[in-house]
Amino acid sequence: MTTISKTSVPMHEDHIISVRSARKYFPVQEGWMRRVKGYVKAVDDITFDIRKGETFGLVGESGSGKSSIARLILRAYDLTGGEILFRRADGSVIDVSTLSDRDLRDIRREMQMIFQDPYSSLNPRMTLLDLVGEPLVIHGVGSQGEIRDRVAELLRLVGLRPEYLTRYPHAFSGGQRQRIGIARALALNPSFIAADEAVSALDVSVAAQNINLMQDLQEKFGLTYLFITHDLGMVEHISDRIGVMYLGRLMEVGPTDEMFAKPLHPYTEALLAAVPQPDPRGNRARKRVPLKGEIADAMNIPTGCPFHPRCAYADAKCRGEVPELRVVKSGRQVRCHHAETLDLIGVAAE
């Protein structure tokens, strides 16, 4: 197994994931013989790290490429370019994007995913025992009896009765199914879990239950989460650090508190301003100016800064030059030419 990819700077020892200049272009095919007529740059030059034991939040509008990143890290897609480093439990570092199929299987014990749709992510034709036990069976962990015990334990862990082993998913509500998905993801004791819109499909009261469960599990097992969502309230609640995506690029990365209190990128500011708060007086006091226009077509990304057509602060430089993601203050990165000069408004912490 390759320990370290040839080009890269060594990984910081606190980091568990290091995404470096990752790119994913999907070909757009057309016509009768599937001619490629262009590329959708779902992920373009993305670089960020996730620290061990933290929750890294990824926010952005639909089509910003946030789900693709999770799938790239887990190698559900192959990278078009760049590399993704992962620190294994034994401390060795591997490049996920170049792993062979056999090594990949091995690595999947350590990284798992929780899906958005609790209905389509569980095979309706399998019992809980088969569903939650499948990763164990695949990796040949234990005898049948041991697997059964382990599944029962996992179910108990996520707050489901072990007697449910023989049931099929259709016997459960959306929130419960999401817990089954969590139990399945935990089966092999992973160190890293990507949660893709894990609570977006649930009702408010149930979402809160599951978020609490995820936090408890993180504490208990020292898990690292990549938490992907479009809900800024939720991402603020759960994340230690946050990345903001727009049109396949990271616009800003930083610690949650600092970023939300004082964003560095106009897009972050606009996103925060757009969130309607359950606070009528606050809403009336806040003069909200909605962001104009809509996210561009991913096949036709604007030149220069991709956000410039919607940005209130854009000038000629923004139209012409693509800004780099750069460190502005310690721990904060931003992809904006004018980050230093802008004085942007966030949400005041209470």
């Binding site: 559900a76 489901l160 049931r167 016997a171 419960q176 469960l213």
Partner: protein, 385 residues
């Protein structure tokens, strides 16, 4: 549904009136997918009746030699175009064991045609387990036992009448069912193999392979079915062994039918490929083989079975039509299409309308398969809304 009890601290302070946890053991929660499909299928009354009908017909066809009173090619010159016998239970106003009236033959002085009339004075009781022609049951046991018949050497029981050579139509119908039904099943099996293979490749791998297969299917669909069948069937030399011709005919039928199946299979594969649970299995480290066999195939089987069931009647209709036209199976093979050849001519039909009986059988079987297919299709996804 069921109750939740979380390990979150605040729910340790559970609401004062929260219901005591009860283990709600609804049978449907633990029922296997197959069971759920069967429960749903059961609600489709017509389909269930049709299924029963087909099972009975299948058994009749399988044991045709035992169930029929005569041999399929036994000629009786004295009994041509005999009308069907009616099985009765009342004789002279009194209840009687099942019987038929014997037929009296007279000759029309002008047309010299034989006319039949029931002789109401005599009774010909229907006997069970009678001795008759010798045959090999299932090709194994040599016997001459027949399920029913009459003990009279001069009289016959012809439930559906006889044809121009005096052969018993009921007997021939049962033997014909063997050929016609099996032609449908074998034809579907051929197109299933083709359709499944190409549809799966197309849907699973996608890309240019998919594009190629799609184009191929378009080509095949641009060929008018019946003329093509006719052309291919006409190309089969008369001299060939009837059994061989039979296999070739089913292959010809399936050549057209597979495109529909391939489309169904491809569509299922495409939609399943994008299901989250398939990705979930992949992320759990499942091999391609496991993903296909454990996750994709089980989810498609019920759809494929429904599509197959709906394809069988097409094959049966195809065989019947070809044989009817004289391009498919030929005598001495007995199939429903071959039997219907006798009913091509208006004069014959008006003389012996019972010769259309195989046509009725075709209609019933086609309808039955359609109903079963409909029922299966409705039940195929027991987890849908």
């Amino acid at each position: 549904m069921t109750d939740i009890h979380t390990l979150s601290p605040e729910t340790l302070l559970s609401p004062p009136l929260a219901p005591k946890e009860e283990f709600n053991a609804d049978a449907s929660y633990t029922a296997k997918p197959r069971t759920l499909i069967w429960w749903r299928f059961r609600k489709h009354k017509l389909a269930v009746v049709s299924l029963a009908f087909m099972v009975i017909l299948g058994l009749l066809a399988l044991f045709a030699d035992f169930m029929s009173p005569y041999g399929p090619n036994t000629i009786n010159r004295l009994n041509t175009f005999a009308p069907p016998n009616v099985v009765r239970v009342i004789h002279d106003g009194a209840l009687h064991r099942p019987f038929v009236y014997p037929l009296k033959r007279t000759r029309d002085p002008e047309t010299a045609r034989v006319l039949y009339q029931e002789d109401r004075t005599k009774v010909l009781p229907v006997e069970f387990f009678v001795r008759g022609e010798t045959y090999a049951l299932l090709g194994l046991v040599e016997t001459n036992l027949h399920f029913f018949g009459v003990n009279d050497r001069r009289q016959q029981i012809n439930l559906l009448g006889t044809d121009s050579l005096g052969r018993d139509l009921f007997t021939r119908l049962l033997y014909g069912a063997r050929v016609t039904l099996s032609a449908g099943l074998i034809g579907v099996a051929f197109s299933f193999v083709l359709g499944l293979a190409l549809g799966a490749i197309s849907g699973y791998y996608g890309g240019w392979l998919d594009a190629m297969i799609q184009r191929l299917m378009e080509f095949i669909r641009s060929i008018p079915t019946i003329p093509l069948w006719m052309g291919l069937a006409a190309a089969l030399p008369i001299a060939w062994d009837p059994l061989f011709v039979y296999v070739l005919i089913t292959i010809i039928l399936s050549l057209i039918g597979w495109t529909h199946l391939a489309r169904v299979v491809r569509g299922r594969f495409l939609s399943l490929k994008s299901e989250d649970y398939v990705l979930a299995a992949r992320l759990a480290g499942a091999s391609e083989y496991r993903i296909v066999t454990r996750h994709m195939l089980p989810a498609m089987t019920s759809y494929i079975i429904a599509a197959l069931t709906l394809a069988i009647p097409e094959m049966i209709l195809g065989e019947t039509a070809l044989s009817f036209l004289g391009l498919g199976l030929r005598p001495p093979v007995v199939s429903w299409g071959v039997l219907l050849q006798d009913a091509q001519n208006l004069r014959t039909i008006s003389l012996a309308p019972w010769l259309l009986a195989p046509g009725i059988a075709v209609v019933l079987v086609v309808l039955a398969f359609n109903f079963i297919g409909d029922g299966l299709r409705d039940a195929a996804d027991p987890y849908g809304q």
